[in-house]
Symmetry: C2
Amino acid sequence: MSLCLSDCPLCRDPVHAPPEAGVQLLLQRPLYRVVRVLDDAFPAFYRVIWQAHVAEFSDLEAAERRACMDAVIAVERALREQLQPRKVNLATLGNVVPHLHWHVIARFDWDSHFPAPIWAAAQRPADAAQLATLEQALPALDRAVLAALQTLPD
Amino acid sequence: MSLCLSDCPLCRDPVHAPPEAGVQLLLQRPLYRVVRVLDDAFPAFYRVIWQAHVAEFSDLEAAERRACMDAVIAVERALREQLQPRKVNLATLGNVVPHLHWHVIARFDWDSHFPAPIWAAAQRPADAAQLATLEQALPALDRAVLAALQTLPD
């Protein structure tokens, strides 16, 4: 397991470098970091990024997979408790950036794409009032996500 | 943890009912079944379907999540060994059918959507020769996936 400080956009000194663009850093851990993605259409969108440069989830050892998935589940549970989303979507794709990262996205029947995946074509404009309410909930949501993650070992 | 024999299309008697349409059943286990999705555009597409009706991965206990993810990883590893795909995509969305199932999809730079997710718009026609070669590899791939799953406890 090694850090790769090459041109991979997710490979950076996890302590000293600023996080990648378009995200809000929530937590740095030795094995992973957690960010919120600044996505206007899907505000309750978090990402668990494995610090070491591996492409596939099956590149991790069993204990590492467990640590990673425990973080994903902690985020998912915080989203469910805070927001009661219609669904949570989990995915690790990495076709563009093949550095292991998990998407954790709260979905709502009023969002622009539901029930399609967020990567599909939009079905409608999102409900603006619901979206505004969700935006306002983000500070409390971030705190709940962070608190859930902090119950996990380092 | 209970089976729900309602109108959920993924809830069916796991022993006696035929599998849902559009898939090839590979393996039935008490906790999950594994199918190959009959998708002309993405032939190396498997699904691990949790037998009990739960919507979210975080509805499972830790040991259940581990058993489920061990199956996902076994499929992923068989795909990597047999096909050397450009990437493997893992996702549990469930917006349309909120019954826990994991997609495990081998991706290739010649496929119709790469590097976009399979749910996005196609980028190009797939390379027909590569697609035909992949189709021919499916029987051996199914055997390898099944063998990998059979190394796991029931």
